[in-house]
């Protein structure tokens, strides 16, 4: 036993010694000391999953830019979608920062919180920035600074209903739900008639509260205020809906993309806010269900807005050696002409107003369901509001809110208790970040 004690003691000493040595190896943040170079400039440009299908397009952009800027070389790196935030983090921590990075807006707050990004409004002229939709810029603005150049996105949400299930439930598929109350009412009737089918996967989250015009934060963003009687009443609708099958039993699952009941397996009849790419997914995975799908306008809350959940952006890390040139390249990639060319290759939506005015978006024949969806999306672009609150630890706080709502739906907490607990967590975090 004595030998064990001495061995453990020796291990601890070694651990502390090596730990201290290893700590010395952690690279210092060189964000404030960008590398300088006198020769031709090389910009490292990261994209997400574009090499396989859009290599020619991106290479074309790069060649055009290099031709117009002979002193600049672009090194293109394509990164798998789910790894970009981790790879960027590792690159920044290792002091090997790329210059222009394609980042999903949902991943943006993480890097803004770490003070890792250069505000682009300090690098580009106001006229350049005015080319982008103001409502998209607003969602990328943190503490009054625009932290990313908006690029492409999947477009505003659309709604979808399964006409076959609607008819079987005795509902008129030509009268899809126009608002949340109707959607929950339709869902309840559908589940009453068809016991193995639920209404929808609508979950009481922050985004829906915003759409309903319910305040989330105090005007100075220092306090969470979502536990008023109006908020309680709003969440109570979902608790009732959960009990009656108006929303699915699996809606409490954490991974949205793999909820057990969905449109594809016909266990859900209504999707109130869906990305149009889901339409193509259903067509591919469940062609028989696709035949029954009717595309509808997305559900608008009482605030009359359509939240937009995530857009692709281009950011310039603070540690970039050439932030001005990097921002200029980002402006080039996201120019109205280049975005239009990209939109013609794949069903995406642009971030520049001028692109959306092109006949490609305004004058097209509606032949398919995808065309119908596109028409709805173009017309609702002006009602879109970016789904970000612009606070520190936003994703963590939203996750904490969702977790409380899961507990409420499962009956582990009352609505008031769940909201109070979430407000408490938010306020603790908001107080720390001030």
């Amino acid at each position: 036993m004595k030998s064990w004690v001495s061995r453990i003691a020796l291990s601890v000493v070694l651990v502390l010694l090596l730990g201290a040595l290893a700590g010395c190896g952690i690279p210092k943040n060189d964000a404030d000391n960008p590398k300088k170079s006198d020769g031709p400039i090389t910009l490292e440009f990261w994209t997400i999953n574009l090499k396989k299908d859009f290599s020619d397009y991106i290479q074309g952009l790069i060649q055009s830019y290099e031709k117009a800027h002979p002193n600049v070389k672009i090194k293109w790196v394509d990164v798998p979608g789910q790894e970009v935030d981790r790879k960027l983090l590792a690159a920044l921590a290792a002091g090997e920062a790329p210059d222009v990075v394609n980042l999903d807006s949902m991943n943006l707050p993480k890097f803004v919180d770490q003070d890792a990004l250069a505000p682009v409004d300090g690098l580009l002229q106001p006229n350049d920035l005015n080319a982008y939709f103001a409502n998209l810029r607003q969602g990328l603005t943190f503490n009054g600074k625009l932290m990313a150049v908006p690029w492409y996105h999947a477009g505003p949400y659309i709604g979808m209903i399964n006409t076959d299930l609607y008819k079987k439930a005795g509902l008129d598929p030509n009268k899809p739900p126009a608002n949340l109350d109707e959607a929950l009412q339709h869902g309840k009737l559908i589940h009453q008639k068809l016991s193995n089918v639920y209404g929808s996967n609508t979950f009481p989250n922050i985004m829906l509260m915003v759409a309903e015009g319910l305040p989330i934060l105090s005007p100075d963003k220092k306090k969470a205020v979502f536990n008023s009687p109006q908020h309680v009443q709003f969440v109570q609708k979902f608790v009732d809906a959960y009990k009656t099958g108006a929303i699915s039993s699996g809606v409490i699952g954490k991974e949205e993309r793999s909820l057990p009941q969905n449109l594809e397996n016909e266990q859900v009849a209504i999707a109130t806010m869906q990305g149009a790419f889901n339409l193509t997914k259903i067509e591919k995975n469940a062609p028989n269900v696709f035949q029954k799908i009717k595309v509808t306008p997305p559900m608008k809350g009482k605030a009359g807005i359509i939240p937009l959940k995530g857009i692709q952006t281009l950011v310039v890390p603070k540690a970039s050696a050439h932030p001005k040139e990097a921002a200029d390249f980002a402006k080039f990639v996201t120019s109205p002409e280049n975005q239009l060319a990209f939109c013609k290759l794949v069903p995406i939506f642009p971030s520049t107003e001028q692109t959306l005015k092109d006949p490609f978006f305004t004058q097209f024949e509606v032949k398919t369901k995808q065309d119908e969806a596109r028409k709805i999306m173009v017309s609702s672009m002006k009602e879109v509001v970016s789904d970000t609150l612009g606070i520190q630890n936003e994703q963590d706080l939203r996750d904490a809110f969702d977790e409380e709502m899961r507990a409420v739906l499962m009956g582990k907490k009352s609505v008031k208790q769940g909201l109070d607990d979430a407000v408490k967590k938010w306020n603790e975090s908001l107080a720390q970040s001030q």
Partner: protein
Amino acid sequence: MSMPTPTQPVPQSQVPPRPRTRLGLRRFPWVPYLFLLPGVAFFVIFDYIPAFNALYLSFTKYHVLSPPEWVGLENYHDMLNDPSFWKALKNSFAYMVIMVPMLVVIPLFLAILVNQKLKGIHLFRVAYYLPVVTSMVTVSITWNYLYHESGLLNYLLITLGILSKPISWLLDVNTAIFAVALVESWKSMGFYMIIYLAGLQSVPQDLIEAARVDGANRLRIIWHVIIPMLRPFVALCVVMAGMGSMQVFTSVFMLTQGGPLDSTTNLTYLIYDLAFQKLNMGYASAVGMVLWVILLVLSILNFRLSHGGERMQ
């Protein structure tokens, strides 16, 4: 003892058992250590330095993009007051309580089953071992379908009259941890079966024959001869299953992401969440140290038991 010179004839029986190299181990006794160096270097670089670095980081506030700031025991103090940590610790032990019996008892019977001298028995051995070499991601996706509300498991249980209505196995706080532990155990059973199989094949046949001559039936032979002889293997499996159950991660990540309501979050998943989702590396390292201590205790236990096993041999 003096060594014979090369000119003297050496009888075969007097040749020293250790082979001599051209370098001559006696002149260069450090040569064997050179052969150990690559392995040692690998361990130091990829195992020990990161582990010791984690210990250092556990005393710091570190969010990756700025240098670590020394905070002493603050992370450990926060941990003691963090309900998420206590829940994860409790769940880690819950996995152990659920998985260890499954990984110790069932593989033993599987091993006895596949130790029969039957035609095509190798096929069964392969079949039971196949999940071990299958990717945990693939296994999790498959089990996710089985656990689905309208999946095969619910269908069977309802058809057999065991359930009256389907259960959302992975979305119910009462069942989720059992569902995840079952997937983990199912995947690992073949590995433990192989350990037992090796043990079974080392049981002296004359003992079994003697018991049979004394009139013992098959069950008595298993209970009174085979299982006592396998005691060191059982002990090894208990410790290995304990360590394995402490490190469950992929199935939690794939099936539940720690939910519902953190009911499947264990220390490993909590560390991942803190480090790579919340970028709170310092605190994650502190939680990691707790897991390290638990695993260290289990390793010491494993080491002592395996030594015990050697003595029994």
